[in-house]
């Protein structure tokens, strides 16, 4: 699915990713944990092609395609989805209009017929229900005045509509109460399939009780310093990240 090799990236001339390797096969769920400022969000932004994140070395291929050469919207149409840690508001543009434009663009790229407004509204309502958002949110401005939890569920709803190949969830669990967390986890679990992969970035092992990962990686100082199975998350919860960061520094 996605293969990341020796990825180095700068933000404002400062190297944040320092040789990151990650290989994810179709159907797998990989959790990425790590201390604040380790570069977790940077990884998502680099893969999604955000401006200001400069790749200096290494490669990333999605289904064999060099995605780093593509524009952000092309990556999205190729099936890469990033659920933002801090979703931004777009006042005046209705959620429904935004979603329709998004789904239209992706479907067009895939050579599928555009959905008409009626079909689309029906679909969007279904997805709202699935993430426990009232359908009235479709009429509101994109994320405009949404609470933290509502923004996160809105992101998840978009993911469900777009049915991406690779889903990157950047701390989708932060700021959610336990009920909302379960809604998000159920949504993600329902989308798990043999063709779809996930990168779940989280700070807390709590989420991983609900979304059970195939692999857990620790990202510290811009690279993966430790990988393991789901039990690694528990170990991290117990011991923190200090022991890993130190060992990494020692190795350099």
């Amino acid at each position: 699915m996605i293969s990341i090799k020796n990825l180095h990236a700068n933000v404002e001339e400062k190297e944040i990713l320092k040789g990151l390797d990650l290989d994810i096969k179709p159907g797998e769920v990989h959790a990425i944990m790590g201390p604040n400022g380790a570069g977790k969000s940077t990884l998502g932004n680099v893969l999604a092609g955000r401006e200001g994140y400069e790749v200096t070395q290494g490669s990333a291929t999605l289904n064999g395609k060099d995605i780093l050469a593509l524009e952000p919207e092309e990556r999205a149409r190729e099936g890469l989805f990033l659920a933002f840690q801090y979703p931004v508001e777009i006042p005046g543009v209705s959620n429904l209009e935004f979603l329709k434009a998004s789904v239209d663009a992706v479907r067009e790229h895939q050579g599928k017929e555009a959905l008409d407004s009626v079909q689309f509204l029906k679909l969007a309502r279904e997805k709202c229900k699935a993430v426990n958002l009232d359908a009235s949110f479709l009429k509101r401005g994109v994320n405009e005045g949404f609470s933290g939890g509502e923004k996160k569920r809105n992101e998840l709803m978009q993911m469900m509509l777009l049915e991406p190949q690779l889903c990157i969830l950047d701390e989708t669990d932060s700021g959610l109460d336990i009920d909302a967390l379960q809604v998000v986890a159920e949504g993600v679990n329902a989308m798990r399939s043999a063709e779809r992969s996930f990168i779940v970035v989280t700070h807390y092992q709590r989420l991983l009780d609900y979304i059970v990962p195939d692999y857990v990686h620790v990202l510290a100082n811009g690279k993966i310093v430790k990988s393991g199975g789901k039990e690694l998350a528990l170990e991290l919860e117990e011991k923190g990240y200090g022991w890993l960061e130190n060992s990494d520094n020692g190795a350099e």
């Binding site: 919207e73 999205a76 933002f84 931004v88």
Partner: protein
């Protein structure tokens, strides 16, 4: 995006009305003096009183100086270097019907999306097509006449309805109102005249399409709309001009009279050539538009301003009668080196008069966009109310948005509310859109359209979509 695709994209969407129609024109030599004023008046076979009226304006104009208070800067036009009258030769002997009109002229309007043959025209919209200094054709005149509605070039109305023209011309915008209004009064060429009789609801949308074609000419159109008691009319004007390196002057005057219980809805889609990416060329658009609303009357101005190099325009309402209502809905978009200083004046004279101002300014490129608005509550304006909302949207960091609200309240019971916001199209918003597969252009257009929604919904339906598309084209190259 590869640079090839980028270039193609730009060429494909440049100013689409920028072509020139190559026809023989009758254009007088540049320069302005009393003889030129008399020449124009004679060309149109005007009665003595109107010639005198023009001359009075011309003499006043000579004493006046150009206003310098607007937030715009441009080299002063050389008024002696302009030609003040230009008309297609084929219009010399007035064509009696559309079949006699030069096909080249008809083709011009067709190319602009305004077919003048009634069977092909937009259903429910009557058009007066003004080409440089003359009206080429006015559609659906018979159908409108059945309802008693008069819709014709003002140059014809002078002959056919002299009593109406004489009664109202210059009553809303006097000859010496300001520098450009005085100039217009002296040399005005053509424009539309509308009269809606008592109690009549105009059965169609009326519209005038102004086209500047000839180089080194000025366009000075004059529009007069009179809605008699209890009548109702919706009117729309559109404007375009060829792409040229030199600036051209357009100084129009529009007067609206809404008598007791009448309603006038006046919409403008202004798309004069804005100049190129380096700020070369484009129209100087210096316009005076004003309405008088009598008892219980309502006047609503809606404008979408995307064109012109420099815009100086303040469609205003004098709310003379009790309970009169004035509205101003505006979208003003500037890109590249365009400059706009636009807004409104709401003058509350009558009791319980109400006004609403919704202004949306969008600045991109290196442009400057100013809102200037006056709300005045006179001593008799008991219970008068105004609500003003003034929003600015910035695209990029090299443009400017400015707001100059003036409030004068001389009645203690008057209520004036003013809200203003400034926002930007942020990189974060664009990235969210792109991450969802939406390209930058579409994203910007969605955000800008969302920003303008409250104004677009005031436009006649046929034109709301058009306006949205126009914004998209005008923003070409503003991001990325």
């Amino acid at each position: 995006m590869s640079s090839n695709a980028e270039i193609e994209r730009r060429i494909g969407k440049e100013y689409q009305a920028g072509f020139f129609t190559n026809i023989e024109s009758d254009t007088i030599a540049p320069g302005l003096n009393e003889d030129v004023v008399r020449f124009i008046s004679a060309k149109k076979g005007e009665p003595e009183w109107l010639t005198e009226w023009r001359l009075k304006a011309f003499r006043a104009w000579q004493e006046m100086t150009e206003p310098d208070w607007a937030h715009v800067s441009y080299p002063q036009p050389d008024f002696q270097a302009l030609s003040y009258y230009s008309a297609p030769k084929s219009m010399e002997n007035k064509p009696k019907s559309l079949d006699e009109v030069d096909p080249e002229l008809l083709a011009t309007y067709e190319k602009l999306g305004i077919p003048l043959h009634e069977q092909m025209a937009l259903a429910g919209v009557a058009v007066d097509a003004v080409f440089d200094s003359v009206s080429v054709a006015t559609t659906f005149r018979e159908k409108l006449a059945e309802a008693g509605v008069i819709f014709m070039p003002i140059s014809e109305a002078v002959h056919e309805h002299p009593e109406l023209v004489k009664k109202y011309l210059g009553t809303v915008v006097p000859q010496r109102d300001n520098f450009y209004a005085a100039l217009n009064s002296a040399v005005f060429s053509d424009g539309s005249f509308v009269y809606i009789p008592k109690g009549v609801r105009c059965p169609m949308e009326l519209s005038t399409y102004f086209r500047i074609n000839e180089a080194k000419t000025g366009q000075f159109e004059r529009t007069l709309i009179v809605a008699d008691e209890g009548s109702h009319v919706s009117y729309l004007e559109g404007c375009t001009a060829p792409m040229r390196d030199e600036n051209q002057l357009h100084a129009a005057v529009v007067e609206l009279v809404a008598l007791d219980n009448a309603e006038i809805k006046y919409s403008t889609v202004q798309n004069w050539y804005p100049g190129d990416e380096e700020g070369k060329g484009g129209i100087y658009n210096f316009v005076t538009k004003r309405a008088v609303a009598h008892t219980n009357a309502k006047v609503s101005w809606t404008q979408v301003e995307t064109g012109s190099a420099v815009t100086w325009k303040y469609p205003s309402c004098i709310l003379k009668g009790d309970n009169a209502i004035g509205e101003f809905y505006s979208v003003a978009l500037t890109n590249n080196y365009q400059q706009a200083d636009t807004g409104t004046k709401m003058i509350h004279l009558g009791k319980n008069t109400r006004s609403t101002i919704i202004s949306k300014g969008i600045s991109a490129g290196k442009s400057q966009n100013a809102y200037r608005g006056l709300v005045r509550m006179n001593p008799n304006a008991e219970g008068a109310r105004n609500y003003t909302q003034c929003d600015s949207l910035l695209i990029g960091d090299q443009c400017g948005a400015h707001t100059f609200p003036y409030i004068e309240s001389k009645h203690p019971s008057a209520v004036i509310e003013h809200e203003a916001t400034t926002s930007t199209v942020s990189d974060d918003q664009l990235f969210l859109c792109r991450q969802r597969g939406i390209d930058t252009e579409k994203a910007v257009s969605m955000i800008v359209n969302g920003f303008c929604k409250e104004v677009f919904k005031e436009l006649p339906m046929e034109f709301a979509v058009e306006a949205g598309k126009l914004l998209e084209v005008s923003l070409e190259g503003s991001v990325g």
